[in-house]
Symmetry: C2
Subunit: 455 residues, 2 copies
């Protein structure tokens, strides 16, 4: 029996556990889910024959070391900032490791030590990062192998509510950490390159510089730019590509309405407001508007942000009860972002029967034999229910598949890795298709930014 230790029984561990349990007999797996909260681990393991559970506080060094020592491979499903302690143990005790998180500087610094010991630390093997890397690199490598030259790469991912459960004006519900949604785009200008020109978008314009995308069978979406697209030139081996842009998908109209919060200052997480414990939603909104003895909060907001009388943005704000004078924030010393999150959670929390959806859209522009081409590649995954969400599946399944491949010796690269080489992505992408996580490609005319075909 080979022992897999999974640390962290969070949301996306569910699909990982189900996958590994399913494979356990054939592959002789002994799987343990460890969490600080034993009940949480039990809940995740419930109903599976081959999953053990244990209580584990990762800040208890001896417990953590003992747990790592007794495993053959360690999967860290902890929040990203906690991986590093586990990673150091894995180096110390010669264990392979898997995470779905971005490679941190601390993690990258272990690369030499990991290689020296012949170990494999696979990271960024969830959905975004993860499936995005694999599906993009598969097409990029294929184009290159044919002798093509990449001239454009754009990539968008979004976690959304499934169409059949999409019943609010924002066409959005929280399918992941709400705090990250409220803070999205903060912490620095978005940077990318278009037709060889470096472009920078500050936070205050981010949600007003969107791009529309049509996904077959699922309709229109819009994308706003992620923070730093430029680093992907290096990672994807696209150093000279004139256009590279990564973004986040929402349904059309979301960003323009979200911009109201940005402009008012409601997404600020850097200071606490006075009196939020007893502050009504209306008072919260009024805090960001000039004082007036004569005008309503409604008219002040419309006037300040120049919202026309017949603009649907207005109905989106009303739907959130932003002007309600009875509902109370009820949080002590909240930042604007925390107060806004509270308001949004009233309306954007998934109902028991709601399903989520992951949408991914890549555009590859390339030159081959003197002609310009474009491939658009899309993937949509809809959740089964609130346990096996699309998010849990698209994160947990590739993590499980990578774990199994490392354990079986099918992945032989050593070091701190990302799934960007064909030995890794081909086999995992193929297996993901069996779980209905498939990309559809369409060949379209390459128009670059000449989208109206203006000459």
């Amino acid at each position: 029996m080979r022992k897999i230790l999974i640390i962290g029984a969070g949301k996306s561990t569910s699909s990982l556990v189900r996958y590994l349990d399913e494979k356990s007999s054939e592959h002789h797996l002994q799987i343990t889910v460890a969490d600080k909260n034993l009940e949480q681990a039990k809940k995740i393991a419930k109903g599976f024959a081959h999953i053990d559970v244990m209580a584990l506080d990762i800040f208890n060094t001896s417990h953590r070391e003992n747990a790592v020592k007794s495993a053959d491979i360690v999967v860290s499903m902890l929040p990203a900032r906690f991986h590093i302690e586990v990673a150091k143990d894995c180096v110390k005790f010669n264990k392979n490791m898997v995470t779905a998180s971005y490679v941190s500087d601390d993690m990258q610094a272990l690369d030499e030590a990991v290689k020296a010991k012949g170990l494999t630390f696979m990271n960024e093997i969830g959905v975004d990062p993860g499936i995005d890397h694999m599906s993009a690199m598969q097409v990029i490598d294929r184009i290159k192998a044919k002798g093509g030259k990449l001239i454009m790469f754009e990539s968008f991912t979004g976690g959304l509510v499934a169409p059949e459960c999409d019943d609010n004006l924002w066409n959005y519900k929280f399918t992941w950490n709400p705090r990250n949604v409220v803070l999205a785009g903060q912490g620095g200008a978005a940077k990318f390159i278009q037709e060889g020109k470096y472009k920078y978008i500050p936070y205050q314009r981010l949600f007003r510089r969107t791009e529309f995308l049509r996904v077959p069978e699922f309709g229109m979406f819009e994308g706003y730019a992620n923070r730093n697209s430029l680093q992907y030139r290096e990672i994807y081996g696209l150093q000279d590509i004139p256009t590279l842009y990564r973004g986040t998908l929402r349904r059309v109209g979301y960003s323009r309405a979200w911009n109201v919060f940005v402009q008012l200052g409601m997404t600020d997480d850097t200071y606490t407001m006075e009196g939020t414990e007893v502050m009504t939603y209306r008072e919260f909104t009024n805090s960001f508007l000039p004082y007036s003895p004569t005008d309503s909060v409604e008219l002040k907001l419309r006037h300040n942000l120049k919202i026309d009388q017949d603009d649907l943005v207005w109905n989106k704000l009303l739907e959130l009860d932003l002007f309600n004078s009875e509902k109370v924030i009820g949080l002590r010393n909240a930042t604007p972002a925390q107060a806004l999150q509270k308001i949004l959670e009233d309306k954007w929390t998934l109902k028991d029967e709601d399903k989520d959806m992951i949408v991914m859209y890549h555009k590859f522009g390339y030159e081959l034999d003197g002609e310009e081409h474009q491939i658009d590649s899309t993937m949509v995954s809809v959740g089964e229910n609130q346990t096996y969400t699309a998010m849990a599946k698209t994160v947990g399944l590739p993590v499980g598949m990578a774990t199994l491949r490392i354990l079986n010796g099918d992945i032989t690269q050593t070091g701190v890795l990302r799934p960007i080489t064909s030995d890794i992505y081909n086999s995992i992408l193929k297996e993901l298709e069996a779980y209905d996580i498939k990309f559809k490609e369409q060949h379209v005319p390459y128009l670059s930014y000449n989208i109206e075909n203006v000459k």
Copy 2:
């Protein structure tokens, strides 16, 4: 002879030196100007009979200690972050000290030690902070002494170009550190209170929430909110005041045009751009606009920020050569803010014959005997030339006056102080009048925010 050590021969040391030289015979002063750059100290001292100079590197501990030891009082005209080392020496060697800077946490922490030794460390005794404190507290204390209750305090200060030298569309030139002007308003939302309501303005709205003010004989100005007005409730003893707002003055129209830079992201100082050494002004501007194969940078900017064809904002941008395809930033790895500063310095640097101007505007609303009143108090100081600027005078003179009073035993309070008590401000404000730094008061109807008198 009493020895005054002035450390730092920067811009506002000129008026300080002239003032103390003028007083040296009568008050038996021996004055030394110390600077890392001896030539700079010599330049400041030139033409004055009673001013010595010395080279002093404040990072050389023994030199610094020796200099402090041999003085009777130390005036630090260094950049604010360097005061603390000098202050610690002053505690060690029992010397009084004067600075024009805000009391830092480090400085405040010395309060007990300073008091224990019976020393006086006078801070915030320049113009803003300084003359603003004194002139405001004099009126506030007078209103309180009459039995009045303060219900509103608003205060604005601006460093501008004198009307006779005001020859650009922005009605603005750099009269102080350009970098601070470019970064103004960053680092947190503006916080204040209006009619008992806490108000917060994020950076992205700061320059669109201005207030107009008319200064007799000088015309219209506008004010935008400073970062944190709320702390002045404590400092000024106005804990329960329903309206307290501090701001920065500019000529009308400046803020709306400046907002173009804010919205585009040109004032961002958190990242460096690619290729700024060879980047033209036009390319710089284009970096913040979407790529288009068919549209000009001009039309993209107009469209993105919805600038009408006949809006004067446009001419302000043209005046700065923002679309010039020949002028080059010429700075290696510049942040957007650094590049913008370079562009502005081309046009906003004072010419040799230009004069600057300091404008201050206080509004005091109060209740007395059941009636509401308002006093507006204004001060305008115009510079003599590029040496004795209004900024140098309004900073250097109160610093010199406080120094003399401490030396003569006229200021007897001990500890880390601000000039907010009548024993300090009355005498200094009176002496400032001799230098034409005077406040004019007018009694106006108290309208609060009911400015159109709507009932």
